[in-house]
Symmetry: C3
Subunit: 349 residues, 3 copies
Amino acid sequence: MIKKLRELAELVGGTVAGNGEVEISGIGSLEDAGPSELTFMASPKFLGKLKETRAAAVIVSKEIPQVDKPFLIAANPYLAFAKILGFFSDQPFQDRGVDPRAYVSPTAQIGREVNIYPFVWIGDRCSIGDRVVLYPGVYVGEDCSIGDGSVFYPNVSVYSRTKVGKRVVLHSGVVVGSDGFAYVKEGRTNVKIPQVGTVEMGDDVEIGANTTVDRATLGKTIIQRGTKIDNLVQVAHNVVIGEDSVIVAQVGIAGSTRIGSNVTLGGQVGVSDHAEIEDNVMVGAHSGVVGKLAGNAAYTGTPAMPHREFLRVINVFQKLPELNKRLLELEKRFAALEEKNPSKKEEDE
Amino acid sequence: MIKKLRELAELVGGTVAGNGEVEISGIGSLEDAGPSELTFMASPKFLGKLKETRAAAVIVSKEIPQVDKPFLIAANPYLAFAKILGFFSDQPFQDRGVDPRAYVSPTAQIGREVNIYPFVWIGDRCSIGDRVVLYPGVYVGEDCSIGDGSVFYPNVSVYSRTKVGKRVVLHSGVVVGSDGFAYVKEGRTNVKIPQVGTVEMGDDVEIGANTTVDRATLGKTIIQRGTKIDNLVQVAHNVVIGEDSVIVAQVGIAGSTRIGSNVTLGGQVGVSDHAEIEDNVMVGAHSGVVGKLAGNAAYTGTPAMPHREFLRVINVFQKLPELNKRLLELEKRFAALEEKNPSKKEEDE
Amino acid sequence: MIKKLRELAELVGGTVAGNGEVEISGIGSLEDAGPSELTFMASPKFLGKLKETRAAAVIVSKEIPQVDKPFLIAANPYLAFAKILGFFSDQPFQDRGVDPRAYVSPTAQIGREVNIYPFVWIGDRCSIGDRVVLYPGVYVGEDCSIGDGSVFYPNVSVYSRTKVGKRVVLHSGVVVGSDGFAYVKEGRTNVKIPQVGTVEMGDDVEIGANTTVDRATLGKTIIQRGTKIDNLVQVAHNVVIGEDSVIVAQVGIAGSTRIGSNVTLGGQVGVSDHAEIEDNVMVGAHSGVVGKLAGNAAYTGTPAMPHREFLRVINVFQKLPELNKRLLELEKRFAALEEKNPSKKEEDE
């Protein structure tokens, strides 16, 4: 596929500076783009690389006088890059139908133009939308519903009664609807609390490889529209995650915790049970969250504190040996001084 | 299924206050229970919600005069709830037999009333107990034995020579018996130490989705009776975990470590190799354990310390900038004072 | 298989002290080795156990006068143990061919003497080397190439266009080539950046159960020859890991980070995006790495600092309550002293 630069600019609502007629066959990084490809500069610090790129044209936020290339000028070059990359990489949908080596319950309803690969298992009374793709090894338990255009990559396991919106993407090894981890002690014995709730996901949710989402004890575990979850994340029973949130790899969210909308949790963050993180919060990687984090703010550390406060704390933390030395020194000097000037209190004694 | 309140009270060894003849059709949370359902109050702090519940009756630890409902009084309401929920949610066992689309080695022994789903693979000389359920995509390598009533959810992988007790539940994506991570350097090259040991699990063990349990180098990796492990946990080679312990999500236990009985490890805890955690220990979430933790105590932090001590440490940690400021202030004031009162030592110099 | 001790010594380039004619049938730990087996002592601290072993002979680094056994003397006893264990445990390769219950694209090229088990799926235009073993439930997407002698355990998922070297071992549940986690905000909406890059792995890479390796956004995610990765590790898009490195369980490596050769990352370490860890670095378990770590050194902590510095910091950290008390005490004593000796500044006020 070949497009003129000005056509791509229209596609992303940008403008052209220089020759808009140059023909573009793809998009690549500053280092790798070929002479008929478009590239992008996300930050001025890559100016050196930009000067050496072989690319035919560059997406930038404003013209760069030092560089003699046609420019596609966009308010957010990275966003324009994402959209143009999608334009060049989108594959036409292939309708393979239901492979006879898959198992599909006779009571399941299957939409139009689906791809159900070999070794897929679909349980009784499931509802599978149009253009759904289920790769080999996908398991969908009884009474599930999967919205139009959803894609489950190989070896995904979805337990019974899970409800999934449209265009939901589950990467390989994702498990949805496994039992919540809930026991009550009778003496030393762990008595299982049956997990009879479900999981629901809104439209446009994407979940990374080997992430696990447990079903609720009672009620629902919920992941709302547009939220994106990375690999190896744990979402426990009865958790609710709002819309458009971003959960980075290896985060663990314990039972009954509520995460707001447009929240970002950095990699390996742990959130305790029954915690609450309000809308528009960012939590730095590796942090541990307990209790409630008020909205529209950034937090870091264990326990998580406001990010600026954390920077001040960690700054002193790294100097603790020096701090201790200063304190020791002061104690010595003080003892020497006190010897000369016994305090009132000491005199009283 | 309908039961009278007094019948449910008998079932859990509780008593009734109020009308024991009221008919109960299920159990739900304070918010969600319907007018023919039972609910429960685990803590007095939910009294407000209790006053608004539509439930027919309530499990409590003692009568609540402010609320005009029949009560089921139990020493541990949460335990009674778990048992009654189990009573209402248990499904009759369905005997589907061995699906012809599964692969079962001719030398494997299969018990009675099993459910072996399509796309299951069972290796040579395996012994599969009665009423075992193996969901689609389950792999059981050669020479494994699986006790009566065990359930392996979809896409579980169990390597050869694993021994599993009765009523063991492995959730989707669990891997048991993968090679321990053990190499020895020859120059820079990592020479693999063959992992020829096995894994053994006692009765009533339950393991959460995508958790991994490595086989031993020599000997056995052991998880004893009644221990429950959450999702995405790593159990390394030659680890031994005692009975009735509880390992929360994303914990990592390194090689040859021994965990006692009735131990609780909070989410994301890391335990180093060759460590020892004695019986009845609790380790707080996100902690890092090195060496030995004596029994019957709670620990938190990295490195893990007694929990009360940790609270004192973390309290000062959060005030480090202030501490530093106080120290600076003291240094300044001290310098001023010293100027006026030179100490003996300084005089000597 | 029976070998004389002197034959085993030759095998590993060691020497014999005592009777080299003793016949050895296997190898075991100090506790478990039987009377016709060889054992090894990795450290002098196990001398007590050595005195009680029933083993026929012992691998040691030098003769031990207190013990009356034949010795196999090797510069690195643990390495000799690994090699002899491999010698006794290696199984002859069984050539089972391609099972008819597997799906193999007609355009895939399959090498000689392979084992393709039931329920394996191999996509169009794949190239599968000689003696490759693909266990049940393995998925290999379109246009992949897998080098000779590689083994993929059950339920491994390899997305399209992945290239894997020779003798690569992927344990169960490993996912390679899933989409990198990359979105750009358009308002609150997360717009996906298409992940059109690939993953490449060198020869002799081994990857533990349920580990995930994401494909690059553009270009390649690379794991070089001889690197070993443990279970439940996250390797994000565009990461490059050098040769012979060792990545312990539950490590998370964020996007575009570069890890050198012969690096060791301890369990649960997190490495931020665009970080760089140079050759021969060791990072202690549970650490958080940001920015750049210079080569040939050990680091620990969050943020990671030189290991010796970390030990000094953590030593004071554990005494923070005491430190605070000392500071308080000093403040009190100082106030008392100041009362007697007002400083100049205070006099001016």
